[in-house]
């Protein structure tokens, strides 16, 4: 492949990048600062150079050493500016791309086969470079070329788009309009904590804590169950988005090849509660659709503990008013109002129980008890049901951040989440890029006695906290490839049988 060996600046189509700062300079700078970026197998012979020595040469040693402080800091509150800069520091990121990001399984995951095919080769990658420059329509023939581009361009993050009908780099050479179009992409979902701001009380905006992460857990459970049981999808990868949300990538062939209309209908099937403050009443039909029945079954325990107890969403008078607004019966509302005014310290759990007791005391006029049950169900759904960013799922050509890249704000790696052990996943203990690099050093210090040969056998990611995540991902991808191979073989067999006939 001729373009495979071209220098990064040639790879870049200048028209594609949004250039806010002087880009050429920045590119050159990145290039020069990384003399070994052209070395084709930088990862293949790992850890021969002492990391400390490498960093000794760098001016910004200070920034690096400050990473120790970050490691001890377990909160994900926005970092001070200097540390933030450290996460997008080109040296650190370049190290990360060279040594840690598992390009090979990532490639296999997108390629659905061990040998490169258009699934990967015609797929769009979009790089966010330093200085808010954004480069779209990049594509790569092999995993190694993608890695090389990452090492030399040092994107803050990169996103994955669809496979196009032709190589995205050649899109301007097509003669007929419409012959350059997306043809395949994983079905994706995006859950973001900001959509939960109207109902979470512990944090707001970019911040998260263990309490509100439960909302993401609930969403993952419900969406995962629906995708598996209802739509029959099997290859669903959940990925921590690096700060306060999660992405899902569905790789089943049937899902990948869906057009926008089908994606829209899945999104429509799953989305209920709108994220805005006084969201429209959702008008859920009775009897409940089995999807809601199942979702409620999954969500009910969370509602008691995670919502009523931990979030305590109806604590203040203002919040209480929100609850009262959701109840349709004026008599009931008046009675509850009176009760809660006289006892302002009641918790949300108590207030939730009060609704029933007050109603039973004969304060229900305009609706019957059966309808009250429905209303309470609606409220439960509103406070627990997943809040998806539906637009992300509806379009085949929507770009979504790749797994395993570093979140520029928190430095955390976007690691996959094992849904079988969903409750064990702790977003706040996901390693940051600086921690990981430190862990490599620590490993070398610890295994000083090991022979160079033996050391070479251990890949860099195995020396770090990335290990379980990469292993999970490799297992997941292996499963996907196995399934994919099965389909292919049976197709080939069919073809063979047919060709025999002729």
């Amino acid at each position: 492949m001729p373009h495979a060996v071209s220098s990064p600046s040639e790879n870049m189509d200048p028209e594609d990048s949004v250039m806010s700062n002087a880009p050429a300079q920045a590119l050159d700078a990145a290039d020069n600062s990384q003399p070994d970026s052209s070395m084709p197998d930088a990862v293949a012979k790992p850890a021969t150079a002492n990391l400390e020595e490498m960093f000794d040469d760098d001016d910004d040693e200070d920034e690096f050493s400050s990473s120790a402080a970050i490691r001890s800091d377990q909160s994900s509150q926005p970092e001070p500016a200097s540390q933030k800069a450290a996460y997008s520091d080109s040296n650190i990121l370049s190290q990360f791309y060279q040594r840690l990001l598992p390009f090979r399984p990532l490639f296999q995951w997108l390629n659905h086969s061990a040998t490169p095919q258009p699934d990967f080769q015609h797929r769009e990658f979009a790089f966010t470079l330093s200085g808010d420059r954004y480069v779209r329509y990049q594509s790569f023939a092999t995993a190694d070329l993608l890695r090389k581009a990452c090492v030399s361009l040092v994107p803050e993050r990169f996103e994955i788009g669809p496979q196009y009908s032709i190589n995205p780099r050649d899109r301007k050479t097509v003669l007929k309009a419409g012959s350059f179009r997306p043809i395949m992409k994983e079905l994706v979902f995006d859950i973001d904590m900001t959509d939960y701001d109207p109902i979470r009380t512990c944090c707001s905006g970019a911040a998260i804590c263990h309490k509100c992460w439960q909302f993401i857990n609930m969403a993952i459970k419900v969406v995962d169950a629906a995708l598996r049981d209802d739509f029959g999808f099997q290859h669903i990868l959940w990925v921590y988005s690096g700060r306060r949300g999660a992405h899902a990538w569905v790789s089943d062939k049937r899902a990948r090849e869906m057009d926008d209309a089908k994606r829209r209908s899945i999104a429509g099937y799953l989305v209920v509660v709108t994220g805005n403050e006084h969201g429209k009443r959702m008008g859920i039909r009775r009897p409940l659709h089995p999807h809601f029945e199942r979702s409620l079954k999954l969500l009910n325990p969370h509602f008691q503990t995670d919502v009523l107890e931990d979030q305590d969403p109806w604590q203040t008078a203002e919040q209480t008013q929100k609850l009262l607004d959701l109840l349709p019966d004026p008599t009931l509302v008046a009675a509850l109002q009176k009760k809660w005014d006289s006892a302002p310290n009641r918790t949300s759990t108590q207030k939730w129980a009060d609704i029933d007791s007050v109603a039973e005391a004969g304060n229900l006029k305009s609706i019957n008890p059966r309808q009250l049950v429905d209303v309470k169900q609606d409220i439960r759904i509103e406070y627990t049901y997943p809040r998806l960013d539906a637009e992300v799922s509806k379009k085949q050509n929507h770009l979504l951040k790749s797994p395993f890249v570093v979140h520029p704000g928190t430095g955390r790696v976007c690691v996959p989440i094992d849904v079988r052990k969903l409750e064990d996943f702790d977003p706040l203990s996901v390693p940051t890029v600086t921690q990981l690099l430190q862990q490599i050093d620590d490993w070398h210090t610890k295994n000083r006695d090991m022979s160079e040969e033996e050391k070479a056998k251990v890949a860099d990611w195995q020396k770090t906290a990335m290990k379980p995540y990469v292993e999970y991902f490799r297992g997941y991808v292996a499963n996907l490839l196995k399934e994919e191979g099965k389909g292919k073989r049976s197709r080939d067999a069919d073809g063979g049988a047919e060709s025999m006939e002729f």
Partner: protein, 506 residues
């Protein structure tokens, strides 16, 4: 590119004359269609020979129906209103009797329906825009008819379709019954039958959570079958049209069918209305040169505009003159009177100049002079809306054509206000129609608004057949209908309805 495509085409005279029947169809290998159902899914193309005239006529009839259907849509008619409106139209142009009727015409009707569909497929396969439109309208027509079908005939028809659905057996039904009921919101007295398909077949039902999903299979209630049949119809038509588009250039047939097909696809802008001589009203009132001013209030905007220009400048340029002369001929002004009309109107011009420069044109338009063909055909036909809407736009300073198309929206509104159309709501709607290039819809809208009292009356009193109030597609039709509506008493006392005896206008 052009050169290449013409070079590859064999000169028609040199082309090897292949009788297709002598080639692959030595004996017919197809089964002649029997049309067991009233409805047709149009999966099998027609195979019998038909007359070229039928090919065109049937196509035009169907086109008429589709155009009316589109007009309903443009005017935001509700489904019920559309059905009401379309019933007489369908009756007239594409009547389909049910099996129960045992009508002797049944086979012919169904054949016509079948062949006309395939004719229009060819005509509208050429561009994506036409394909899209054709697909939308055909689906609507299909839906309309399916709904009108009686329940058991519809069931038979649906059963005959090659669809991949599988009815749920009793076991499965028993296992999932409560979930099925909840998912598809079945009411107490609804039929408890479901079938299962891949969910991808019913994306809209999935989106509205109207189905039960299990491992990628959608369990659909039988009442949704119609929707699915419609979706399948659209899908198969879409792929059929794309296929037709690809094969169209290979048809290599430009003598017999191509002109017809071209004409049909042209007609989709505004269906062609052939001029018929009944459109004159000379049988009800004496039309002479002096009465044109009085009658001009019944003229459509294109002609009123020319009339006003003529009165303002005492002159009209050639194109405008031709358009106007033919229109006047159409309303029943005879040639002598027409010559008098023009002579008087061109009052700044000497007799001599008139004779030498203008008289011949008028006579030519009436077929009084000119070549044999012109005489035999008694001159040109008055221009239809289609003609006015598809001819090249007039250059600056010329006034012919359809003002809805040629005028800028602001000038058009000013013109309408000048001729006394001032209803704000109406003007807003006209502006919208014109913006979407639905010129004849705008014109019809104006007509309906300015004649709304009369239209209401004939509707209420059932004086006119509903198909006599369909979309106007010819300036002379506009005039005639306007005249008749405003002179209802006259039409009745003369006992001449719209379908009255043709007396010609010679």
């Amino acid at each position: 590119m052009l050169a290449a495509s013409t070079a590859s085409r064999i000169d028609p005279k040199k082309r090897a004359v292949l009788d297709p029947r002598k080639q692959q169809f030595v004996k017919s290998q197809w089964v002649d269609q029997t049309y067991p159902n009233r409805m047709n899914f149009y999966t099998i193309p027609p195979t019998e020979d038909i007359a070229l005239e039928d090919f065109e006529e049937w196509g035009i009839a169907r086109l008429k129906v589709l155009a009316e259907l589109e007009a309903c849509q443009f005017r935001n008619r509700s489904p019920a209103e559309t059905e009401e409106y379309m019933r007489p139209v369908l009756e007239k142009w594409l009547r389909l009797d049910s099996n129960k009727s045992r009508s002797p015409d049944m086979h012919l009707q169904r054949k016509k329906d079948h062949y006309s569909h395939w004719t229009l497929r060819l005509a509208f396969a050429s561009t994506a825009d036409l394909r899209q439109r054709f697909m939308r309208l055909e689906t609507q027509l299909f839906k309309l008819r399916l709904q009108a079908d009686s329940a058991d005939e519809r069931r038979d028809f649906i059963k005959s379709l090659p669809m991949s659905w599988e009815m749920l057996d009793a076991d499965e039904k028993a296992t999932w019954l409560s979930e099925l009921r909840a998912a598809t919101s079945v009411r107490k007295d609804d039929e408890e039958n479901w079938f299962k398909v891949d969910w991808e077949k019913v994306p809209d039902l999935v989106e509205r959570r109207q189905v039960l999903l299990k491992k990628g299979k959608a369990y659909v209630h039988v009442r949704e079958q119609t929707t699915m049949v419609l979706n399948e119809f659209t899908r198969s038509l879409e792929s059929g049209l794309e296929l037709a588009a690809r094969f169209l250039p290979r048809m290599d047939e430009d003598n017999r069918l191509a002109p017809i097909l071209h004409h049909l696809s042209q007609s989709f802008v505004a269906p062609d209305a052939s001029y018929n001589e009944n459109n004159g009203v000379s049988d009800m009132t004496n039309i002479h040169a002096g009465s044109i001013d009085g009658l001009s209030s019944h003229f459509p905007l294109c002609m009123q505009n020319l009339h006003r220009e003529l009165r303002k400048n005492s002159h009209l340029k050639h194109q405008s003159r031709l358009q106007y002369t033919l229109f006047l001929k159409g309303i029943g002004l005879n040639m002598q009177e027409c010559i008098i009309f023009w002579r008087k109107a061109f009052k700044l011009i000497t007799d001599e100049k008139f004779k030498s420069e203008y008289l011949y044109n008028v006579r030519h338009a009436y077929g009084d002079v000119g070549g044999d063909a012109n005489k035999r055909g008694r001159g040109y036909s008055p221009f239809s809306c289609q003609k006015l809407l598809t001819e090249p736009l007039p250059s600056a300073g010329l006034n012919h054509g359809c003002p809805y198309r040629t005028y800028s929206p602001d000038n058009l509104i000013a013109l309408l206000q000048n001729v006394g159309v001032g209803d704000r709501e109406l003007l807003r709607a006209v502006r919208e129609d014109v913006g979407r290039m639905r010129y004849h819809i705008a014109c019809n809208r104006v007509f309906e608004s300015t004649h709304k009292n009369e239209i209401k009356k004939v509707k209420d009193e059932n004086l006119w057949n509903a198909s006599e109030l369909d979309t106007i597609l010819h300036p002379n039709e506009y005039f005639k209908r306007s005249f008749l509506l405003k002179n209802l008493s006259l039409a009745r006392s003369g006992d001449i309805g719209v379908d009255g005896p043709s007396q010609g206008s010679n």
